[in-house]
């Protein structure tokens, strides 16, 4: 019973992720998306696109990783990918957030979930790299469908987009080959600085 109470405490704490806003707009909606709905979208994306992973991945592990990957933002908030200044203190804040949040769980589950989160962060495994690739690709696809709205609002440059998202090519080259010409076209249309 104590175990269940700890699990349910963690479960309700997760509601706070629904208040964390990102810089990306869902296609067709006039608002920013929050990290909870983003986490659903990217987990389903991994399930949808797993066949494009090279090397192959264990999709169930990638899905779990993506469900958990951003919960540290409950304490550490979202950091915009292209905000280099904000990126400085990010890692320490997120490590502390992971300690607190996973620490709410029964010990065995705390270890399992914390390890999945670290595997995502470290990108040292094929599963971790593919999870990261999905997380990078999705907001680019949303931006491409939104005439680059978030790029334009935040003065994002083409070179930044290439540099930050090139890791997609290490985990799913077919996805990178698909998106690269679209990014070049977006630059040519003036959606990227």
């Amino acid at each position: 019973m104590d175990k269940l109470i700890a699990q349910l405490g963690f479960l309700l704490e997760l509601d706070k992720l629904k208040a964390i806003l990102r810089r990306t707009r869902p296609v067709g909606l006039d608002r920013y998306e929050n990290t909870a709905e983003h986490s659903w979208h990217v987990a389903l994306m991994a399930m949808l696109l797993a066949e494009h992973a090279e090397p192959p991945v264990a999709v169930e592990r990638v899905v779990k990783m993506l469900l958990l990957h951003d919960i540290v933002e409950i304490d550490a908030d979202d950091t915009f990918l292209y905000d280099e200044a904000a990126a400085a203190g990010k890692a320490d804040k997120e490590v502390a957030a992971a300690e607190r949040l996973f620490g709410m769980l029964p010990p065995e589950q705390a270890r399992e979930f914390h390890a999945l989160w670290r595997e995502y962060e470290e990108r040292a495994t094929a599963d971790g790299r593919f999870a990261y690739a999905c997380d990078r690709l999705l907001p680019m696809l949303q931006n491409l469908a939104n005439e680059g709205a978030s790029w334009q609002e935040n003065s994002v440059r083409f070179e930044q987009v290439i540099r930050k998202n090139l890791p997609i090519n290490d985990a799913a080259p077919a996805l990178w080959q698909y998106v690269l010409p679209k990014l070049e076209a977006a630059r040519d249309k003036g959606w990227l600085g």
Copy 2:
């Protein structure tokens, strides 16, 4: 390439689920939650509470089922569990929505995802029943943490809550045993009619 284009078309269509509102409020937030963020929450919940399933379940399948279970609301909208009038036309609308949405996918994946959705709807397997149990339990826990906000706003009665949520007991009796006394206490406090 055609296959990838179909998959990405489906992926971006999913953004529409972020605009579908439910009647439940995230704990501490003064707004209704949308179905996309709910789907993230309940998929993670299954991962968290799988050990309480009786009989045991294949948690990876349950998680996938829950990521997909509500996407039909893109066309069919959310139906409030306790709105018996609205429930009448729900099944037909959802079947048509599933045809359209899963029909956007490459054929093999369309079949796989559509079958997972049907398994959730039919609740004829342990995995489907546990997925359903999570989906029933989560809004009750949110309501209990919110002094019954959504129950009070919608004049929900104790007997309705028991009748609609009793299937939790078939898939995870420990979870039902946990929540039943809390529901009785909520009734005694006047949070339920």
